[in-house]
C-alpha cells in the first residue's frame, strides 16, 4: 500500500514544554487520517512539521516519498495546506485571493472551478472581510485546493464555527474524500473525527496513545455503551459497581458515576437492583453509545474538551 506520510520518532520541544514526544505515524494514500486530541496535545506542532513550517528536534518525516531538506520546492507544489489561525487579506475579494494563490502553483483547476467546489459563487466579488466564519473557512479550504494537491492538511478546520457551518464544511471534506484525495486533519471534536476519518490517532502529551479506525478504537473499550448517573448523597464507590453484570469499568467524576457497559439491557437492571438494595435514590440516569470521547476518557481520565 502506498504511504503518503511517514513520521518516525518525531520530537519537538519548546522552551518550557515538550510538544511532540516520540511520535510515529503512517498515513496511506487515499485515506482521511485524523489526529484527535485535546488542545495542547501537540497536534498542530506535528502537522506543521509535516507541512515544512517547523523543524523537528529529532525524528524523520517523509511526505509523498520526499523530504523537506531536499525537496521543499516540489513538496510545496504538491501539498494543500489550511492553517489553524490564518486570516486572509481582508481587503481582497474571494476571487482575487484565489487568483493570487493559483498563481503560485504550476497546475490546478481554474479559479472559477475552485470557487464552485467550495460553493462561494455568490461571494466571488465579496471582500474577505465581509465573509462569515464558515465562508472564510471554505475560502481557506479553496486556497488549499487551488494547486490540486496530492495531500491535504487541515488543521482544526471547523473550530469556532456554528453547527450549520460545521456541517457544510464536513460535506465539503467528504466530497474530497470520495474524490480519492489523501487528507490529514487535526481536531479536538470527536464527532468530527468519527464522521470524517478513516483512521484516527489519539494524541495526548505529544504521543500517539491509540491508533485505528473509529470503530476499532471504540470496540477496544470492550463496551458499546456508557451509562452515567447521579445519586442522592455520596457513599457509592466505583469499585463496588465494577462487579455488576455487564459493567466493564466504573469511574466517578464531577458528581457523576460513569460505567462502561457491554450490554445495556443487562447492566441497567443490575445497576437499578443494586441501588435499590442499598437504598440509594437515583436523581439522574442517561446512556449513550460509546464514542471516541469515551475512548479518550478511558485512556487518559480526562475529556477532550478539558481546558477549552
Amino acid at each position: 500500500m502506498e504511504v503518503s506520510l511517514a513520521v518516525r520518532g518525531l520530537r519537538k520541544a519548546y522552551a518550557d514544554v515538550v510538544a511532540v514526544d516520540g511520535l510515529d505515524l503512517e498515513v496511506r494514500a487515499g485515506e482521511c487520517f485524523g489526529l484527535l486530541g485535546p488542545n495542547g496535545a501537540g497536534k498542530t506542532t506535528t502537522i506543521e512539521i509535516c507541512e515544512g513550517l517547523l523543524e523537528p528536534d529529532a525524528g524523520s518525516v517523509e511526505v509523498l516519498g520526499l523530504r523537506w531538506a531536499s525537496d521543499a520546492a516540489e513538496l510545496r507544489q504538491r501539498l494543500g495546506v489550511q492553517l489553524q489561525e490564518t486570516q486572509l487579506a481582508e481587503k481582497l475579494t474571494v476571487e482575487e485571493t484565489l487568483r493570487l494563490f493559483r498563481s503560485f502553483y504550476r497546475h490546478g483547476p481554474p479559479v472559477a472551478a475552485v470557487i464552485g467546489m467550495v460553493q462561494l459563487e455568490e461571494k466571488r466579488k465579496a471582500r474577505v472581510g465581509q465573509l462569515s466564519g464558515g465562508q472564510k473557512q471554505r475560502l481557506a479550504m479553496a486556497c488549499a485546493l487551488v494547486g490540486e494537491p496530492d495531500l491535504l492538511f487541515l488543521d482544526e478546520p471547523t473550530t469556532g464555527l456554528d453547527p450549520q457551518a460545521r456541517r457544510q464544511l464536513w460535506d465539503l471534506i467528504e466530497r474530497f474524500k470520495t474524490a480519492g484525495r489523501t487528507i490529514i486533519l487535526t481536531t479536538h471534536y470527536m464527532d468530527e473525527a468519527e464522521r470524517l476519518c478513516d483512521r484516527v490517532a489519539i494524541i495526548d502529551h505529544g504521543k500517539a496513545i491509540a491508533l485505528g479506525t473509529p470503530r476499532e478504537l471504540v470496540a477496544a473499550l470492550g463496551a458499546d455503551h456508557v451509562v452515567e448517573f447521579a445519586t442522592e448523597g455520596d457513599g457509592l464507590e466505583a469499585g463496588a459497581l465494577e462487579g455488576l453484570a455487564g459493567v466493564r469499568a466504573a469511574r466517578a467524576e464531577d458528581g457523576f458515576m460513569r460505567l462502561q457497559v457491554a450490554q445495556l439491557h443487562v447492566a441497567v437492571p443490575a445497576l437499578l437492583d443494586e441501588l435499590a438494595r442499598r437504598g440509594i435514590g437515583l436523581t439522574e440516569l442517561r446512556t449513550h453509545s460509546a464514542t471516541l470521547e469515551d475512548v479518550f476518557v478511558s485512556l487518559t481520565g480526562r475529556h477532550l474538551r478539558d481546558g477549552d
Binding site: L53, T86, L88, K91, S103, F104
Partner: protein, 345 residues
C-alpha cells in the same frame, strides 16, 4: 502550457499591493493628499508679499510730514500718550518724538527687525527733508525670482519626507500586519517565491512613487511655479534611490516585529529624528556643528539636500555624489540586515 502574464505570481503579488493600498483610503490620503495640502498651506502662509509699508507714529505736524515723504512709511500724527500705547500694542513699530529744542527721538524695539528698518527709513526721510544729499549715486535692481522663496525650499523637503513616510509605512505596516494575521505563514506554506513576495513590495512602491512624486511636484510647479532646474531623469533616479533606501529601512523595521504597535513605535523612533534634523522645514545647517556629522549621515538629510541641489540649483548627479553614496549605503546595509533578520512567522 504558456502562462499568461497576468497569471504570473509576481504580477499577482504586485496587484495585491496596489489593491490593498488603494482600498485603504486613509493611506491614499496620507500619501497623495496630505503632502499637497501641507505644501499649499505653508506655501500660502509664507508667500512673498508686496513690500510692507511700516506704520509709525509721530508727534508734531512738521515731523509727520517730513517722515511722510518716504514712500515706505505710513505716518500717523499722534500725541505722546496715544503714541506710547500704540507702540506697546504693536499698532506702530516706531514713535518719532519731536524735541522742543529741535531734533528727533526714535522710540522703538531694537530687537524687532521692523523697528530697526523703520528707524533707518525714518532717519533717511528726515535727512532728505532737511536737504541732505547722498554722496554716492544709488539705484535699485529688484530680484523676486522663483527658486529663492520659502515654498521653493519647502517642496523638496516635503518630497523627501513623503518618500520616507510612504516607503517605511508601505513595507513596515503591510508586512507586520501579514505576520500578525499569520498570512505570512500561510504564504510560505504555499510554493510562493519569497523573493517575489518582497520584490512585489518594491515594484508597487516604485510605481506608486511616480504618482506620488508627480502629484506633489506637479502641484508645486503649476500652483507656485517651483522650479525644476535639474535634468528630470536625474530627479527620477534620485527619487528611485530615495524610495529604495526607505523601503529597505521599512523592511528592516518589519523584519522581526510581531505587532502593529511594535512596528509603529519603531518607525516613529526612526523617523522622528529625521523630521526634526533633516531640514524638511528649515535648513539642517541651523543645528550646531557638533551634530552635523550625525545629521548629514541621515538618509533623509542626504535625500533632501540632493533634491534641493537638483531642483533649485540645477546641479548634476556628480555634484551630489556624496548624498547618493550615503543613500546607497543605507540601501545596502538595511537590505542586508533585513534579509538576515527577517522572520516569516
Amino acid at each position: 502550457m504558456e502562462i499568461r502574464w497576468q497569471e504570473r505570481s509576481l504580477v499577482q503579488l504586485t496587484l495585491v499591493r496596489f489593491r490593498e493600498f488603494w482600498r485603504e483610503r486613509e493611506a491614499v490620503f496620507w500619501v497623495f493628499v496630505f503632502p499637497v495640502l501641507l505644501a499649499a498651506g505653508l506655501g500660502i502662509a509664507f508667500r512673498n508679499r508686496a513690500p510692507e509699508v511700516l506704520k509709525i507714529g509721530a508727534t508734531g505736524k512738521e515731523l509727520a510730514s517730513a517722515l511722510g515723504q518716504g514712500k515706505s512709511l505710513n505716518v500717523k500724527l499722534l500725541d505722546r500718550g496715544e503714541g506710547e500705547r500704540e507702540l506697546r500694542t504693536g499698532a506702530i513699530v516706531l514713535l518719532a518724538l519731536a524735541r522742543p529744542e529741535g531734533g528727533v527721538i526714535y522710540r522703538y524695539d531694537d530687537t524687532n527687525p521692523d523697528g530697526r528698518t523703520a528707524r533707518l527709513l525714518a532717519e533717511q526721510a528726515i535727512q532728505r527733508a532737511a536737504g541732505v544729499r547722498v554722496g554716492v549715486a544709488e539705484s535699485d535692481d529688484l530680484v523676486r525670482e522663483p527658486g529663492s522663496r520659502y515654498i521653493d525650499f519647502l517642496l523638496p523637503g516635503l518630497l523627501g519626507m513623503n518618500l520616507m513616510g510612504s516607503g517605511m509605512w508601505s513595507l513596515g505596516f503591510s508586512i507586520v500586519y501579514a505576520r500578525k494575521m499569520k498570512l505570512l505563514k500561510r504564504l510560505v506554506a504555499s510554493p510562493m517565491s519569497r523573493a517575489e513576495y518582497l520584490l512585489s513590495f518594491l515594484l508597487a512602491r516604485l510605481t506608486l512613487m511616480i504618482a506620488e512624486v508627480g502629484a506633489l511636484l506637479g502641484f508645486g510647479a503649476l500652483v507656485f511655479g517651483v522650479p525644476l532646474r535639474g535634468p528630470l531623469w536625474q530627479l527620477t533616479l534620485l527619487c528611485v534611490v530615495t524610495a529604495l533606501a526607505f523601503s529597505a529601512l521599512g523592511l528592516l523595521v518589519a523584519s522581526r516585529a510581531q505587532t502593529i504597535e511594535a512596528v509603529s513605535g519603531l518607525m516613529n523612533f526612526i523617523m522622528m529624528p529625521m523630521w526634526v534634523f533633516s531640514g524638511v522645514f528649515f535648513s539642517a545647517n541651523r543645528f550646531p556643528a557638533a551634530l552635523q556629522p550625525f545629521i548629514q549621515a541621515l538618509p533623509l538629510t542626504a535625500a533632501i539636500n540632493a533634491l534641493r541641489a537638483n531642483m533649485l540649483e540645477g546641479a548634476g548627479v556628480s555634484q551630489y555624489g556624496g548624498e547618493m553614496a550615503i543613500l546607497a549605503a543605507w540601501i545596502a546595509v538595511s537590505f542586508f540586515a533585513a534579509l538576515k533578520l527577517f522572520r516569516w512567522r
